[in-house]
């Protein structure tokens, strides 16, 4: 027999790289499982003191009295920082000059604007002494009533939602579309406030040396943090050295430097010694961001064949009283389903909470669970299978803008995931699948989407005479695998085996890698790495092809390829030279090159760029108890090029499990009298435990995208949550016939 072993028709030296696409295990895995990975709070510089925050009991008012003397009298307490003695700042922490800058509470006055706001910082020789010192402050307050909940204040239309998206969008005439529809639905869904709850709380170890500042702190955006601190303290950014080799999760809450982290720096300034400050779990419920609650009303009209004639999506959300971040929930309806008329709008209230912030899939997570629930309700109203309904309303172009997609393999996602799941056996009506143990089984679908965002990043590449390479960029690994994926891109960019590449990241002393957020880090910093690699290879090729002694002489820059530490003539593989030989001949110990990663504005003007996916969920519900368990999740995702399938699958798993969390578990519960969150701990703020996610499958659907960036990367960090939350909610309906409209879905919602 003849086998067509034609995996790659090109000669070996023409293949594009070899590290990208490999399912490498995490390069930092051994350090982490052995405890050798040094997280911010693991640092103990000589002479270090411990700082503990004293935080507000009340939501609104002012601090009337603090017993500073009692705290200072406690053995081991060195200093108490209050508005009276807090070192001066160069800029007002309430000043704001761009939407990525958030107002901070840095003891600028005695006003209290949310529970858990810092009112003092106690600095002591031990953590125990600082903790007790904080308790001894025994604050007295002048309190005003807390404004709580989505009906807790007058609403208004914000100037923008998310980062700079208009609060109101429309195309076509939604009212006319609804009027002409054969079938209509209208439903209102509520999602609760949620908190990031990274395993690693926000922590900082800060040490001043004159006007030079050394910091260990987890950061998703080192250069932004450096810039913010420089502005606050009036010092040059290059005098600030931030190390953040590992984050124990961030999810958006470590995107911008938070107030407590800056307070750690201030405390070190005040006492003239290094200071460590670590938030207690309950202190993370306030000053470091959260996902705002939403109430969303969806209106849809369908013609007699189940085609959407109109989508109306209105969201009410909340921000703090003193800053702006408005969860862009309704914008989720801009990109997924074709409709001649779409209108989205937002309104907001201001509450006595900390300022909400980006939380993994901001806008898309909240918007998706409402949109996917409503789409399911629309399918049911039309008597259609919900997958068929979604395919009937498949968007061939981006619905709101009419732009073509740079790539969109959502159809393949639907097909692959539904086949793996066994969706075709699904009865149309709910409550049709009781199992042998008496549970009601239900199957649901949700479509996943997230935009392919890019920011700005830089990288520096070095080739050394010993044949090895170095790649530097201040990238941030928050558990997603940046240490590994970027090293893979670096290896291919340098034409070296990954073991020959020294990859450095996680420090503000390195080139700005942009933010690890918006699912854009791999694409952005990855492109910077790719381009830095190309730049240094170009220099190397110059050296070789211009030197008569080189076998590559005369080939020209375009005529060579880098692979395995050698340059080859493109047209004659027998002519090649190692990097070391080229540099040695030139008498150079090393050469370097720089690259940037940046979105291509022309292609972004021409194309809509989104990752997509389809998630199918199975739930089992006890009919007497309303107890819900997810028994199966199958997702298929198309997100452009996959750098490392193992890491990508892991991101999808994590996202999908978070989707279960959104649908069934997560909720910050507020005491309406005090405005305080009453489940600010991991025993009562629920996320799924292992037993809640028995079976998760993530399929990687092939997708080539020639427009999104040269590497074809879209990003996978957030998309897994979207789609999944709605799929679980829709499965609950299919199991029980009860349509969940308030999340998380609880026992009492199904007791009947």
């Amino acid at each position: 027999m003849t086998l067509e072993l034609s995996l790659n028709q090109q000669p070996a030296h023409l293949r594009q790289g070899s590290s990208i696409g490999q399912p490498l295990t995490r390069r930092d895995g051994f350090l982490k499982v052995t405890g050798a990975a040094r997280y911010a709070a693991d640092n103990h510089p000589p002479g270090m003191l411990y700082a503990v925050l004293a935080v507000s009991s009340i939501a609104r008012g002012r601090v009337a009295l603090l017993d500073v003397e009692a705290a200072k009298a406690h053995a081991g307490v060195v200093e108490v920082m209050t508005p009276e003695n807090r070192p001066p700042l160069a800029t007002d922490p309430d000043a704001k000059n761009n939407p990525f800058m958030f107002r901070l509470d840095l003891l600028q006055n005695d006003h209290i604007r949310y529970p858990n706001q810092t009112i003092a910082v106690v600095i002591a020789e031990t953590l125990e002494a600082a903790t007790e010192g904080a308790a001894l402050l025994s604050p007295r307050y002048e309190a005003q009533p807390a404004r709580v909940g989505l009906d807790g204040a007058e609403s208004f239309v914000p100037g923008g939602v998310g980062i700079g998206s208009p609060a109101v969008h429309h195309k076509g005439d939604v009212e006319a579309g609804l009027k002409s529809a054969a079938t209509r639905i209208e439903a209102t869904y509520e999602t609760p406030a949620q908190y990031h709850n990274a395993m690693e709380p926000h922590a900082i170890v800060a040490a001043w040396d004159g006007d030079s500042l050394s910091i260990d702190t987890p950061s998703q955006g080192l250069a932004m943090a450096q810039g913010r601190i420089a502005g606050l303290f009036g010092i040059a950014p290059e005098n600030i050295h931030i190390r953040s080799p590992f984050l124990g999760g961030g999810f958006g809450s470590k995107g911008m430097i938070s107030g407590p982290q800056v307070l750690g720096i201030l405390a070190a300034r005040l006492v003239g010694r290094p200071v460590k400050l670590v938030l207690r779990r309950e202190q993370m419920y306030g000053p470091v961001g959260h996902r705002a609650p939403t109430r969303q009303t969806l209106r849809m009209g369908m013609d007699s064949e189940g085609r959407l004639t109109a989508i109306g999506h209105h969201a009410r959300t909340a921000s703090s009283t003193f800053d702006d971040f408005f969860e862009p929930a309704a914008d989720a309806s801009h990109t997924l389903y074709a409709s001649p008329a779409i209108a989205t709008s937002h309104e907001a209230v201001r509450l006595d909470t900390g300022t909400p912030l980006f939380m993994r899939a901001p806008g898309e997570a909240t918007g998706s669970i409402a949109l996917e629930s409503a789409i399911d309700e629309a399918a049911a109203a039309c008597g259609m299978d919900p997958l068929e309904f979604r395919q009937r309303n498949y968007a061939e172009v981006e619905p709101m803008t009419g732009k073509p997609f740079s790539s969109k393999a959502l159809r393949e996602c639907y097909t692959q995931a539904s086949e793996r799941f066994g969706w075709q056996r699904r009865p149309l009506q709910p409550r049709q699948m009781p199992d042998k143990d008496g549970f009601l089984t239900g199957w649901g679908i949700g479509t996943a989407t997230f935009p392919a965002i890019m920011f700005q990043a830089e990288a520096r590449a070095v080739l050394r005479a010993d044949g090895s390479g170095l790649m530097e960029t201040g990238a941030q690994d928050m558990g997603q695998g940046a240490w590994t994926a970027f090293a893979q891109i670096a290896a291919d960019g340098l034409g070296l085996d990954i073991d020959q590449v020294d990859f450095r990241a996680g420090s503000s002393d390195l080139p700005n890698a942009g933010i690890a957020g918006g699912s854009g880090h791999t694409a952005t910093a990855g492109m910077a790495i790719h381009n830095a690699g190309a730049a240094v290879i170009t220099r190397l090729a110059d050296l070789a092809t211009r030197h008569e002694a080189s076998p590559l002489f005369g080939a020209g820059n375009e005529g060579v390829l880098a692979r395995g530490g050698r340059l080859y003539r493109r047209d004659d593989e027998s002519r090649s030279e190692s990097y070391g030989e080229i540099l040695a001949r030139a008498g150079l110990a090393e050469i370097d090159g720089r690259g940037t990663g940046t979105p291509d504005s022309a292609s972004r003007e021409a194309y809509a760029m989104h990752a997509h996916g389809a998630v199918f969920a199975e739930v089992k519900v006890d009919p007497d108890f309303g107890q819900i368990r997810v028994t199966r999740l199958v997702g298929a995702f198309a997100a452009g090029r996959v750098i490392n399938p193992r890491l990508v699958r892991s991101q999808y798993y994590g996202g999908m499990i978070w989707g279960v969390s959104f649908a069934l578990h997560e909720e910050a519960v507020t005491d309406r009298r005090s405005g305080r969150i009453q489940n600010a701990n991991l025993a009562e703020y629920h996320i799924p435990v292992n037993a809640d996610v028995p079976s998760v499958a993530a399929l990687l659907v092939h997708e080539d995208d020639p427009y999104v960036n040269a590497l074809g990367i879209k990003g996978v960090g957030e998309i897994g949550i979207t789609g999944t939350a709605g799929a679980v909610a829709n499965a609950v309906w299919h199991a029980t016939g009860v349509r969940p409209r308030r999340f998380p879905i609880r026992i009492e919602d199904l007791l009947g």
């Binding site: 529970p115 108890f625 309303g626 009298r673 629920h686 026992i747 009492e748």
Partner: protein, 327 residues
Amino acid sequence: MRDFSYLRAGSVEAARQAAALPGTMILAGGTTLIDLAKCGVAEPDSLVDITHLKGLDKIEVSARGATIGALAKMGHVADHADIKRHFPAVSEALWQAASAQIRNMATIGGNLMQRTRCPYFRDPANFPACNKREPGSGCSAIGGVTRGHAVLGTSDACIAMYPGDLATALIAFDAIVHLGERQVSVDDFFLLPGATPDKEHAIEPGEMITAIEIPDSAAARRSTYLKIRDRQSYEFAAASAAVGIEFEADGRTIRDLRVALGGVATKPWRARAVEEALKGKVLEPDAVRAASLLAVEGAVDNGANHYKIELAPRVVARAILKMGETA
């Protein structure tokens, strides 16, 4: 955290003497005490560590019943072959309690001393009013977040739920707490809040739990613990039921029935009205469901916990019917 002194007791007697001093608390697994100290509820002057005392971790099961030493770990008891055989409800209650990590640390004696998860009780810095912590200071929970609060056994002074699983199973089978010279039934060991919610246990200064005794019974041998909650593990019960049953020779008529409720009351809650309504009757689904409603007679909700009143009888009925099926 306040400074405290730490003493390793050389004997049970020494531990009891030390614990008789005001401000002294006994340290066993520490899973509750350390937690309460961190949130400012427990402020001991002195801890008496009993973890190394010999002989207090024995698990003995005979024809007369089981004696479980106070220092036996929750995980060991849950997994003990004779406990599983003679007292399945006890094993199942433990398996469904807390998390594997906590079960490996926490002791049986400490488990009985577990305190409520009422978030107001656990937050003295922000909610000074709590009759359980400071008698007469008021109750912050009433009118607040109450989804997890009790609907049975409450008083104007306190609506805090008893969160444990083990004691719910113990109370169903008339277990006895050994306090050195004195013995009290589990039912009497746990006190209703009434006007004195600060007093949770019938244990006096200088007393220490040394063992728990569970008398053998046919109902205990045929028993189960059913726990309903929003997530599959590491969550306190929305409602739970420990049920044991003994049939007459006909295999249908109920001779003995034990029913206790968890997750709904201020203490482990024996539902004797359900037992009495069904004893001597033939096990029949409609009768079981009707009788199970008696489990929540007199229940009072505080809004968000109303669902427990709906849920608890269903849990009881399911558990009874499940035990009937295995006839």
